[in-house]
């Protein structure tokens, strides 16, 4: 429980809550605090306990141990109505069997403020209408709730929760069945409510990017426990998402929305591990992005170089966790980076060269390929279109490529073909060179 001095800032305290269903434990020792006016998103895979936690906070479920405090009040000690005056809830999907009008439904939000013998006053009507204006459904007042669209219904339900004039709003996946524009509309609304009205908002999200974009803090749950809690940038990391969701993601920062995002990396990981074989990739300018991903997905150990920082290939390598020989942004390859590249080549079992554009700055990478062949390593060239002009060095690059072929490099026309050659080499390193 929060101490008296700081309590005026704390909206909700979840204190060491555990909960079990008949089928097993759903929450274990969950503790965290939500400040007043804060917008907190709960994310996690299915079965992590997100909705259960929301159930406990809203008192639908009674925790086996621990407690939930609304400011300083244990919610178990509050009456049904007094809790509903402080806390509104927007459920995932509301099944309404009878044809109430939108206004009727929103007015139900005034119930906690009315006594059993009381009737709605003009003040209640005013508050209901004001809530409907905030969520932009005032024009639907006389429509039947069974006849409006999903996005509209979601905003009607938020209006009903607002009509309770609560200080805390709980939502269970508020954007689940909505199209993109309705999703953004609902999220913008929530953000402005927490911002302008100092409403404390706790919401479960399916979509972690939506949560990251709008929430002040994110609570990452896994197997009934809090895995991590903090600002979106500290929660949406490759490691966290891999641990909790079992998915590899690329994490980036969008300057357009000023938020972090994570994109799952496409393609199923193969079950075969080829980790004992290291493939060194010589690429650049984006030509290595797809090969790197394929190689990693198919279980190879991958290194790459030399790559300029800020190059697409560099960012992909970073996000895949590949060791690389880096070079400063937009700079020609220096001796130091080249040397580092050669070290990586020495540590590999085969070298793959993409058909990157050859310029003065990166011609050293072709020298590195020569070095590989001279060290006796198998070298595979991927040349998609032999007639395309990718040489910006007045023929020097083309000459080196020709030299590589003369020295016994495997020439392949596609990445698939190159991967086939690689697999042949791995299975039969001695006969490998004759495979083409």
């Amino acid at each position: 429980m929060p101490s008296r001095g700081e309590s005026y800032l704390v909206g909700i305290t979840i204190d060491n809550v555990s909960f079990s269903y008949d089928s097993g434990e759903a929450l274990r020792d969950v503790s965290f605090e939500v400040m007043q006016g804060e917008f907190v998103g709960i994310i996690g895979p299915n079965g992590a306990g997100k909705s259960t936690l929301l159930g406990v906070i809203s008192r639908i479920l009674r925790p086996g141990s621990g407690a939930v405090y609304l400011e300083e009040m244990d919610i178990q000690e509050m009456s049904h109505k007094s809790l509903a005056r402080e806390m509104g809830f927007v459920a995932q999907d509301s099944n309404i069997p009878f044809r109430f009008t939108v206004l009727d439904l929103v007015l139900m939000g005034r119930n906690p403020h009315l006594s059993r013998f009381g009737v709605e006053t003009s003040e209640d009507l005013r508050i209901a209408k004001e809530s409907m204006t905030k969520t932009r459904v005032a024009n639907l007042a006389e429509r039947a709730v069974t006849e409006i669209s999903g996005g509209e219904r979601q905003r009607v339900l938020i209006a009903r929760a607002l009509a309770q004039t609560p200080r805390v709003l709980l939502l269970d996946e508020p954007t689940l069945h909505l199209d993109v524009s309705s999703q953004l509309e609902v999220m913008d609304l929530l953000k402005s409510l927490s911002w302008k009205e100092k409403l404390t908002i706790i919401s479960v999200f399916h979509d972690f990017n939506m949560a990251a974009r709008y929430c002040d803090r994110i609570l990452l749950m896994s197997k009934g426990r809090v895995e991590a809690v903090g600002p979106p940038g500290t929660i949406l990391t490759r490691e966290n998402i891999r641990t909790v969701f079992g998915v590899d993601v690329h994490v980036g920062h969008s300057f357009l929305t000023n938020s972090v995002y994570a994109i799952p990396i496409a393609g199923q990981k193969t079950k075969t591990s080829r980790k004992e074989w290291t493939v060194h990739l010589i690429c650049g300018g984006g030509s290595g992005a797809i090969p790197m991903r394929r190689l990693v997905n198919e279980g190879w150990e991958v290194t790459a170089g030399v790559l300029n920082i800020l190059d697409t290939d560099y960012e992909v390598a970073e996000s895949l966790g590949i060791s690389i020989a880096p070079e400063a942004p937009f700079s020609p390859i220096t001796e130091k980076a080249h040397e580092q590249n050669l070290q990586l080549i020495k540590g590999s079992n085969a070298v793959l060269v993409t058909d990157f554009l050859i310029g003065r700055g990166n011609i050293m990478n072709l020298q590195a390929a020569i070095f590989a062949l001279k060290s006796g390593l198998p070298l595979i060239l991927v040349i998609g279109d032999p007639n395309s002009d990718r040489d910006f060095t007045n023929g020097e690059g083309t000459m080196i490529v020709r030299q590589l072929i003369d020295m016994g490099a495997n020439v392949t026309k596609s990445l698939d073909e190159a991967l086939g050659v690689l697999e042949g080499l791995r299975r039969d390193p001695l006969g490998g060179r004759d495979l083409t």
Binding site: S58, R59, I60, H80, K81, L83, A84, R85, M87, G88, F89, A91, S94, N95, I96, P97, F98, R99, F100, T101, D104, M108, G109, N111, P112, L114, R116, F117, R160, A161, Q164
Partner: protein, 285 residues
Amino acid sequence: MIIKEIRLPRVLAGALIGSGLALAGTVFQGVFRNPMADPYVLGVSSGAALGAALAIVMRLGYSAVGVYSVSILSFLIATLTVFAVYGLAKVGSRAPVITLLLSGVAVSIFLSSLVSLLQVFSGWELHRLIYWMMGGFSYIEWADVLGVFPLITIGTLVTYLFSRDLNIMTLGDEEAQHLGVNVERSRKILLAVGSLMTAAAVSVSGLIGFVGLVIPHLTRMLVGPDHRVLIPSSFLTGGIFLVFCDTLARSISGSTELPVGIITALSGGPFFIYLLRKSRGRYAI
């Protein structure tokens, strides 16, 4: 003389009982979020009938407690029945329409067979029991009207006080809790009140089916789902409907009088089938 001693109590009782059954139906449909629920379908009527039959056979009707002993025993068993049916039908935290109808029918058949069993062993009281069972207002006296009046009145008032709760409870238990309704308590009170009105009706007039199903529906179509309007409206239409049916029953075939239950069932049965067809799957939550 005829008007004052025979016609007037009969019309008043008909109105009160029609109103009571219609309100009981409204309550059950709201509480179970299910437009198919009514006292008859849920077996509450059969429970009330068993209680009343027991009271008649045990000659409680002649005891000091008088008319009320029939109603009280009827009320007790009706209440037990509705909670038993609800308990049986419950899957998790809700009672889906299919299990609700099935358990209602099962419990109803069981209780009806107990009533039949009572008839076999009733001896001297058989005559009275059978007339009562057929359902009708032929033997209504002022005492019956005065017995039923306070029960239906109490039931109506309590139901009306819970009309906002009923509105909110149609959204589901969790939603209702979020909106500050003490669902468990409200549901117990409402089911008890619904059983009370059913028991009051059944103990006087026997089994009259379908009023509790048809009237709330028709009224909802007319005035909408808001219980604050629906409850007084059902009260009125229920009363009017049953008095009308009783007038038909009395006059339709000349000299012989038909039990009013036949008239209500004749109109209610097809309506129930119509509802079932129309809502196929929609209420199977």
